[in-house]
Symmetry: C2
Subunit: 409 residues, 2 copies
């Protein structure tokens, strides 16, 4: 059976970054990927800037302290000095304000004493350049300061504001559609009859996409009837990514793969050596990526993290692997009969200093979402390993949809 | 000077979880805090459920294999069986479908062979209960399944859908206002004159709040003029949290603290032994939390992570400390002249297995946001430490606004 690593490789080889571009305001740019190079329209700092509240001086003037100087001007931030500092004079200056001509240092206000008659006593010497940030010291006008392809975080947004990019080109995010399949499914606002269950996969997938800033389109439930499935699948194939949950295992009523083939979807695989989630379908049609996700809720949630999230990230232009993984010491013996699949065991990961521990939660299989509410990550058991002893070091992956520091109560 | 820990303690003691409640749909519940206990309106599973595609059998009937059985019915998921299984008979059953009366095990389709005339050859024995999840095994109707106060992640949203909670009560998020102060400031869409700079703090704060799902109200720039400041501060005090950047250091033009006092804001502190960000004001008025943040961009960004984010999280009902921290080995000697403040040094944190390394980026002080674009976290240097040698183990904090696995290019 196809290994998780090989399957992921096939998936990622078939995914291209979306080429559409959006132009967004700074209040909508967080978490998006920059689609243009950004050049500075200003020097940074834009002038020789005081980095302290204090007095602008000629350093040679205060080589003996205390020294008395005459205050010839006050320069608040946002005001430009009108006078030149000459021997025996100073200007009171605020943090961020332009240093006046003539001055070559700023003495912190804490090292001065106000006197009468617009005079000040300077209590400490200053080196040339002290407490002054020179014009263009960080960035020169015309410098490229941010490159196409980077992720915009709060710090990059701060830079964009500083250089006047109040509208910025970012890569479009993938348009995602979600379809649930199964005659047994009813929507959450309905009372299930005997044999029916409420659709939950569409809503957990929706939340997982939302966690990375993508708002999918929900196409509803397709009953296990070929005509209905066909119509809804046709609709779903109009999106960049089409997520179908259910309808892909070996059951005779699972029409999804054959309809996809009929519609010229090139199916790359239908099964992966993974638990939970063995029956997972991946295919492409033109620029559309199609996932057939297992009907079981836990399987769907795990498969999203392993396969779908990296796809959405790559399509958004956001590089590499975004599942936060690490090593942890397992806190309970684990064994399994078969070791043919890479298995993901729900655990509570606790961290202390450089150490992490992973305690498996009680888990009744891939329909048992209740167990997953007690977990914050997954322990990864590779193919071929059938036993792990308490104290062994294993790989863990935090759930992608929440902060890795989160610990469920 | 007040230590970071003591300041944070003062802050957190003054913060209460917001008592307002929103009722939201499942598509808007992700990341919110549950404001009601949730009870199940169904058993889970809702019936004895097949966990495999296969054949529902009486286990005693196949104590000798191979055994031939007559297929009396097919049961897809979502359909209820009409017939009872008696000796010599079986029903073909799909994953998730109800197990028919009489049957006490399901044999996987992989361990069977189809025969003519609606017969099947069973190739392996089954234990009583094999591949059957019993009704109510995970949850019984009426059980409390989710408690008020928990964070809703994709798994909890799946549970809510399953028990029919398509509208759910969640705690309201804090209403946040942002005000920039400073005569030197112009908005990003303006060309700064000599001595002016563009406002960037409001936009980085906006992005930081957005990263935890909060959309603040931006009140614009108040020039350093008392009347204008007064009017805008009055407006800001109508929110749950009021963030003011600039206007709080020792400069004579910094009116903010005195205006806040005039308006009956109880100021708890105005200075913390932290670098960057020493001049940080914290106060309260009735149920409003007020922060005066330093005007320097890097200081504002860091102070948000240290003080503001925990406040917003606690107000949202989301427990403890949400900054992801860990230990890392410093990769370059570090020294400083004064060790009076807890210092946060921008670093690139790289992880490999259970080890992490932290490399300080070149940094020209708290206006140098360009340096921060190269970093993904902060190295924490405690008070009293003036030297760290390459190879020492230190505490690091990942930036709160991005995935901790993110590494800037």
């Amino acid at each position: 059976m196809l290994s998780v690593d090989k399957a992921l490789k096939i998936v990622m080889e078939n995914v291209r970054t979306i080429e559409r571009i959006d132009s967004v305001g700074l209040d909508s740019a967080n978490g998006r990927v920059l689609a243009e190079d950004i050049f500075s329209d200003i020097d940074m700092p834009p002038f020789n800037r005081s980095s302290m509240d204090g007095y602008a001086v000629i350093s040679d003037d205060i080589s003996n302290v205390p020294a008395e100087l005459s205050i010839i001007e006050e320069i608040p931030a946002g005001h430009f000095p009108k006078k030149r500092i000459v021997r025996g004079t100073t200007a009171k200056i605020m943090t961020g304000a332009p240093v006046p001509e003539g001055a070559d240092a700023v003495v912190m206000v804490e090292n001065t004493e106000s006197l009468k008659d617009s005079k000040v006593k300077i209590l400490s010497k200053a080196k040339k350049g002290e407490n002054i940030s020179n014009r263009g010291e960080d960035v020169k006008k015309g410098d490229k300061i941010l490159s196409r392809g980077i992720l915009l975080r709060c710090q990059e947004i701060s830079i964009l504001a500083t250089v006047g990019k109040y509208k910025v080109k970012v890569l479009s995010q993938p348009r995602v559609s979600i379809l649930a399949t199964g005659t047994e499914l009813v929507e959450p606002d309905k009372i299930p009859s005997i044999g029916q269950i409420r659709n939950s996969n569409s809503y957990s997938l929706f939340a997982q996409c939302q966690s990375i800033g993508i708002k999918p389109e929900y196409l509803g439930i397709a009953i296990d009837d070929e005509a209905d499935l066909r119509e809804k699948i046709k609709k779903g194939l109009n999106y960049d990514v089409f997520l179908i949950s259910g309808g892909i295992s070996m059951g005779d009523y699972d029409f999804v793969p054959s309809i996809l083939r009929d519609m010229d979807v090139k199916i790359e695989f239908e099964k992966v050596a993974i638990k939970p989630g063995k029956p997972v379908l991946f295919g492409t049609k033109d620029n559309t990526i199609v996932f057939g996700l297992p009907g079981n809720p836990v399987s769907t949630m795990v498969i999203y993290d392993i396969f779908v999230k990296p796809v959405l990230k790559k399509m958004s232009g956001d590089s590499v692997n975004f599942n936060f993984t690490g090593k942890a010491m397992i806190e309970k013996d684990f064994s399994r009969k078969k070791a043919e699949r890479q298995e993901y065991i729900p655990v509570r990961v606790t961290r202390s200093g450089m150490e992490a521990g992973a305690m498996p939660v009680e888990f009744h299989g891939s329909a048992d979402m209740m167990a997953i509410t007690k977990a914050n990550g997954l322990l990864i058991i590779p193919v071929g390993i059938d036993k792990i002893n308490k104290g062994d070091i294993c790989n863990v992956m935090w759930f992608s949809s929440t902060d890795p520091s989160y610990m469920p109560s």
